[in-house]
């Protein structure tokens, strides 16, 4: 068995707003091994980003709160860490890149300063050495004229370049786990190809584990070893990337794969999932996907299925595959 890097178990992150409790993440279990890239896929509002922010314990500007579960990083429970201990982890052992490269860098500070900040903090380098390391990191992510770029401001760079800077910043302290939240969604296709290529190269060189959050099944197929599919705050299916695309079990996963127009395949109509993603105030009682499911059973409306092994290395949360013994029906 490979060394476990991150083990999220039964994580629950709830939002306390004006209209009551929103269960943004409601019992999520994800395991990431050393050197592995795990994709977390789902549509907007499925809780994938909140899961990643929970790992970093970065729910500051949300009304969110982790109410249950555990997040073990290299065997240590991050939820028991103090804020001070968390700061040692963030940007050091666990780093993060975000979706919006245009707004993720501080407009009033030079690129170099923003990189050096983390380097000086975690690697305890002096100013001179931090600067050298920053330049080296920028070179590594393929930024031309890196020794000049350190003295420039974010507005002088394009979106693709800024995302490279973000990656350089994240990789600067050689993290063991990189959380990438939709890192290419805001970028153009040709730039996306560049960034994905860069991430693959860096992964091979550094053996960093990656948690890749995305809605794009194409990106998943290209980047990931294993995939976790989320719907309405819960994991509905988890397996390796090949099985997911060749033998998806959960009706939602199947619908999702069928919904995507595929390049070169000329289908006249696309499969589509009817209805809309349920809103927090309007959560169905049983299985959250039941109202949109084409294989719905009576039991789906009453009781929620559990996430269960359907094959070795393949789990699914669906009554179609549920073991009757555990259910007791």
């Amino acid at each position: 068995m490979a060394e476990t890097m991150l083990k999220i178990e039964d994580l629950k992150t709830y939002f306390y707003g004006d209209d009551g409790v929103v269960k943004a993440v409601d019992g999520v279990t994800i395991t990431i091994n050393k050197g592995e890239t795990v994709g977390v896929v789902g549509e907007s509002g499925c809780g994938k980003s909140v899961t990643s922010l929970s790992v970093m314990r970065l729910l500051h500007d949300t009304p969110g709160e982790i109410v249950d579960g555990s997040i073990e990083f290299q065997g240590k429970n991050l939820l028991s860490f103090s804020e001070k201990e968390m700061r040692q982890i963030r940007g050091n052992e666990v780093a993060m890149i975000f979706q919006e490269p245009m707004t993720s860098l501080n407009p009033v500070y030079k690129i170099g300063k923003q990189l050096e900040e983390a380097i000086q903090l975690h690697l305890k380098y002096d100013k001179q050495k931090a600067r050298e390391h920053a330049i080296q990191m920028l070179k590594l992510v393929g930024i031309p004229r890196s020794d000049e770029i350190v003295n420039e401001f974010p507005y002088q760079l394009s979106g693709g370049m800024r995302q490279r800077v973000m990656i350089a910043m994240a990789m600067a302290c050689r993290p063991k786990l990189l959380i990438a939240d939709e890192p290419t969604t805001a970028l153009d296709v040709t730039i996306q190809a560049q960034i994905l290529d860069l991430m693959r190269t860096l992964r091979e060189e550094s053996e960093t584990s990656i948690m890749l959050i995305t809605h794009d099944l194409g990106v998943v197929a290209e980047m990931c070893d294993r995939v976790v599919v989320m719907y309405a705050g819960k994991v509905v299916e988890e397996t390796d990337v090949y099985t997911l695309f060749e033998d998806p079990k959960h009706p939602y996963t199947r619908g999702l794969i069928g919904s995507v127009p595929k390049l070169g395949k000329n289908a006249n109509r696309l499969d589509s999932i009817p209805g809309n993603v349920p809103t927090p105030s309007n959560m169905p009682k049983g299985c959250k996907f039941a109202p949109r499911c084409s294989n719905v059973l009576k039991v789906c409306l009453e009781k929620e299925p559990v996430l269960e092994k359907v094959e070795a290395n393949h789990t699914c949360r669906c009554w179609l595959y549920q073991n009757t013994e555990t259910v007791g029906v």
Binding site: E43, S44, S158, G160, M161, D188, V189, T190, I191, Q192, A193, Q194, L196, D197, H215, D216, L217, G218, V219, V220, A221, E222, V241, Y242, F245, G255, L256, I257, G258, S259, V260, P261, K262, L263, G264, N266, A267, N268, R269, L270, D271, S272, I273, P274, N276, V277, T279
Partner: protein, 336 residues
């Protein structure tokens, strides 16, 4: 510079030539940016730079390209939301690019637009009924007919009649886009310009809307100009596709030729850059170097030469002409 699609699918002999619904000739849009103080050395952003194409009745033309390629600006000029700097637009054989605001107003009935952002394109202070009936009010359709039609339109786009008395914020993104489509259909348009109509939507919703657009096209004999950045989506919905780069159409062909047999190095790179949801598929990938240049300072010669893996000296100096290399397949590249 000619880019008229006279023939299609090689069957031009049998079918008699039909005048295109829309014809665009050498369309340009330069935005001036004032640089300098008193000197007023004017600089231009060449958002659209010499674009020509035609759309036939009942077909879907896809315009695809990355940010800053001018695809949305082209759509806005066709809607006359922007005035072209140069060039002509013909609608059913009649030039409309020289009409003034008042003359264009009645013509707008035939052109309708579906916008990218379903949240921003509906007035949050209006009920769905008012939103959908607004084009009918503008074009003088009597009230009884409007009320009846609104409910019919809502059913057509997959909503219910009772949704008419709701406000937009009560709907999800996909439902709002349906409202937007109902509004576009309200005055029986001939041409619908859809500017990234599904890019703000979730995957499962995106396919619903794409299917809806296809169904409506059949039912109402609509013609679409479909503008998007997603190559797979454009392939799915279009009959012919134009690829834009920095204000120019670099390649235009029917869907099969363009996707199976792309000619322009940019089209090739673009197609190879799209991530495909199949983990077993290992492709030769062309990764373009560098960023997309700014349209305010486009490269000389062929605008793609800074990133083109096959660029030669000629590409740096000479602007390539559009050539028809196969019937209906137009490429603007020195290699051909």
């Amino acid at each position: 510079m000619q880019m008229l699609a006279i023939s299609e699918h090689g069957d031009c002999g049998g079918v008699k030539m039909e005048a295109p619904l829309l014809e665009v000739k050498n369309l340009k849009k330069y935005f001036s940016i004032n640089k300098g103080l008193l000197g007023r050395k004017k600089k231009f952003v060449k958002a659209v730079d010499d674009v020509s194409f035609t759309i036939k009745k009942g077909e879907t033309l896809g315009l695809v390209g990355e940010s800053g390629c001018g695809k949305s600006t082209t759509g806005r000029m066709l809607m006359r939301l922007l005035d072209p700097t140069e060039g002509q637009i013909y609608f059913e054989g009649k030039e409309i690019s020289n009409l003034n605001d008042n003359q264009i107003r009645s013509l707008r009935k035939d052109f309708q637009m579906v916008f990218q952002d379903p949240y921003a394109s509906l007035n949050p202070r209006m009920k769905v009924r008012e939103i959908v009936s607004e084009p009918m009010v503008i074009h003088g359709i009597p009230k009884e007919e409007r009320m009846e039609r609104v409910e019919k339109l809502l059913t057509v786009v997959g909503l219910s009649a009772y949704h008419a008395d709701r406000y937009p914020h009560e709907f999800s993104g996909g439902q709002r886009q349906r409202i937007g489509i109902a509004r576009a259909l309200a005055v029986n348009p001939k041409l619908i310009i859809a500017d990234e109509p599904v890019s703000a939507l979730d995957v499962s919703i995106q396919s619903q809307i794409l299917n809806l657009l296809k169904d409506l096209q059949e039912e109402f004999e609509l013609t679409y100009l479909f503008i998007a950045h997603d190559l797979s989506v454009v392939e799915h919905i279009s009959d012919r596709v134009g690829v834009m780069y920095l204000g120019k159409i670099v390649e235009l062909a029917d869907k099969q030729s363009l996707y199976q047999n792309p000619k322009h190095p940019y089209t090739k790179a673009l197609l190879s850059a799209v991530p495909i949801p199949n983990p077993r598929l290992k492709r030769e990938r062309i990764i373009l170097k560098g960023d997309i240049p700014s349209p305010s300072n486009p490269p000389s010669g062929c605008t793609f030469h800074t990133r083109c893996p096959l660029a030669t000296e000629e590409c740096r100096n000479k602007i390539p002409q559009v050539k028809e290399i196969n019937p209906g397949h137009y490429v603007s590249c020195h290699l051909f």
